[in-house]
Every structure is written in C-alpha cells, then in structure tokens.
Symmetry: C2
Subunit: 218 residues, 2 copies
C-alpha cells in the first residue's frame, strides 16, 4: 500500500477509536512509524487528511455503490439496499458523523464537497421514492416529497449523534445501526400502500430480528 | 443583576455569536469588564458555566413552560405550543444544539443532566401524542409510539445542525426555525385522523405563512 493510503487508513481507525479531536498528525505518524515530515509530504494538515478521506471513501461508498433506479431491482429491495449502504458508511466513518457540524465549520473545502455530495444523495433518494410510488408501493403528494427526503437524510445523518447524546456508554455495535434503520422504516411506513404492506412489514420484521440478534452478540 | 447571572447571560450571547469552542473564560471576563479571578470565584471553568446555563435556562424553558396534558387545552394547540417552546429554546441556546455531541462528551455532568431532562421530555411528548389519540385526532399503534417520539426528538434536536451542514451561510433567522417546525408537522401528518385533518392543515398553512413572512424580513 502506498504511504498516502496507509495514512488515510490509519487515520480512519484512530479517528473512530479515539475521536477526531483527540488525534493529531503526530499521533498518526507515530502510529505508522513514519516521520511527521513524511506525513506532511502527503498532506498539509489534519483537515487535508479528513477532506481526502471524505472524497475517496465516503463519496465512493455513498455514490458509486448507491443503488440506481433500475427496472430489474424490486423498488423495496432498492430502498433497503440503500439503507444498508448509508448505514455501512456511517459505521465506517463514525468519527465523521459523530462530529459533523464542527468538522464542516472548520473546513470550508470539506463543507463545499459535503453539500455537493448531499445534493446528489437527495436527488437519488427522491428518485427511489418516486420509483416506489410508480410501482404503487408508496403514496405521497409531490409537495411533500422534498420534506420527506430531508427528514430521511436528517435522521440518517444524525442518528449516531442522537444515539450518543441519549446513552452514557459510547460503545458502537451493529444493534445501534439497525435501530437507526428501524427509525427510517417507521418514517416511511405511513406512506406504504396497502398492496405493499405485507412485503414492507416483512422487511421491518427482518431488521427487528437483525437488531435483536446483534444485541445478543454485543 | 448578580455577577453570576451576568456571567451566564454574557456567555450565552458570546457562545451563540462566536461558537462555544471559540470563546474562553478570559473572553467572557473581558466582555464583562471583570477579572478572570472574579469569574473563577463563581465558576470552576467553562464546562461549569455551560452546565449552569443548561440547568437554569434550558431546563426551566423546556420543562416548566412545556404544555401539560390538560383538558382545557385543545390537543392540537398543545402540540403546537410544545413546538413553539422547543424551537424557542433551540433559538435561545443555539450554541448548545449546534455542537451537542461534543459538548456532552466533554462534560459528563452535563451529559447525565441532559439524559435526565430528555427522559422527561420523551415522557411528555408521549403523553401529548396519546392525548391526541384519545381525542380521536391521531391514530397510531402502541408499538410505534416510542419510535415516533424518538424521531420527533431527533429532528428537533438536530434540525439546527442539519441546516448548518446543508447551507454555506451560517446566518440564523426565524425562517430556519419555522422550516424545522414544518418538518415536525410532516412527520406527524400521516397519523392525523380524518376528522382532525382540516384543523391540522390549517396549522401547517399557518407555519408555512410564518416561514414565508420571516424570509421576507430576513
């Protein structure tokens, strides 16, 4: 692996384990056994590392692996696939989501990139919901769609922060993420049409089961 | 006003205007024209000031002025009154809400107090929703109530953070808060019963109007 990639990988691990604000570039260099000078050859500062992490990983994960509206994929499967992708990204970059407003405020380039990526995601979520409506699986008014999409993105983005504020333990496990998915399903549920209700409730039951199973493991 | 209260008032203003992490106890003392020693006579450190702010103001505002379930108050009016209270608190303590996970992680006493207050709020919101159901204005399953309450609290708590992450301007005005209230109304809307629909849509239209009016002023 190239040094640049090693720095990125080590930073993600350290940020997730210790919290981004507790990790300096010196910590990262020491962890890799390289000199601070070598690190600064690849990155100007910590903000630069965080920007690169967001660009190279979150963008790939969120955009390239995000399910496209596709006639071969059942619409409800597409939305479940999407939630898996979003929550997987959250788990992998939890340092990012647990301190998002501060990270963005400190780093205008990151903020611009984030707003751009979020615009893309909002567009994709809108398309997914519209495809569910076209398949007679959901029903909502056009005028409500932007608000529904905003609420889904807000709950996705801040689920982890909300969990952390509500609980005194800082342990993260799969159950935390399945609880987040279940919140998303509760938001969507009232818009599910009668003919899709059974399939939807099956999906919800599956996530409840996954959540319980991961609580047992934890 | 007592020095202790002056310190609290000045701190709220400085934290809101400049962001909590950019304000030191020395800034606060200088702003009031008192010595740092005088400030330390009243508070051990900045965390101590923030804890006192949360205890004395947020708790009063959120709990004592929070509408009780009361037969004299129409249930929908109670929920709207509640949203006004919550969003007023958010506006007054925006420094607190815009950096909540970090503030709580730094300050275990604040975290404990916050979890305690949130438990009270969750209880009160549950009671309000149940009173709406008893009045045949809402319909939801008992098993969904905790999730609905969580989603409402999550959106309230992180609406400001979400707005800040999505927008490059950091200006706060009433329109931002009315947009937050409108998100809450969208979440509630699917559960509103047919007989309460007209009254509900009237309330939603009123908040839309308020939002537009405050955009004109801004």
């Amino acid at each position: 692996m190239k040094t640049r990639d090693k720095i990125i990988q080590a930073s993600i691990v350290l940020f997730n384990e210790q919290g981004e604000r507790n990790v300096t570039t010196n910590h990262i260099a020491a962890d890799l056994g390289i000199s601070p000078g070598n690190l600064y050859y690849h990155f100007r500062n910590k903000e630069d590392i965080i920007l690169s992490i967001y660009e190279e990983y979150a963008r790939n994960l969120l955009i390239e692996t995000m399910p496209e509206v596709n006639p071969d994929v059942k619409p409800l499967d597409a939305i479940i696939l999407y939630m898996d992708v979003v929550f997987l990204a959250m788990m992998k970059f939890r340092f990012f989501y647990s301190n998002l407003p501060v990270l963005l405020a400190k780093n205008p380039l990151l903020h611009d990139k984030y707003v751009e990526v979020q615009g893309f995601i909002a567009q994709r979520v809108s398309e997914l919901l519209l495809s569910l409506r076209n398949a007679n699986m959901m029903d909502f008014l056009d005028e409500d769609l932007p608000d529904i999409v905003s609420i889904l993105r807000l709950v996705n983005t801040f689920w982890l922060s909300f969990y952390q504020t509500q609980n005194n333990d800082n342990e993260m496990n799969d159950a935390v993420f399945y609880q987040g998915v279940l919140k998303i399903l509760v938001i969507i549920q009232p818009y599910i049409s009668d003919e899709a209700k059974d399939e939807f409730l099956e999906a919800r039951a599956m996530y409840r089961q996954r959540c319980q199973d991961s609580l047992k493991v934890a």
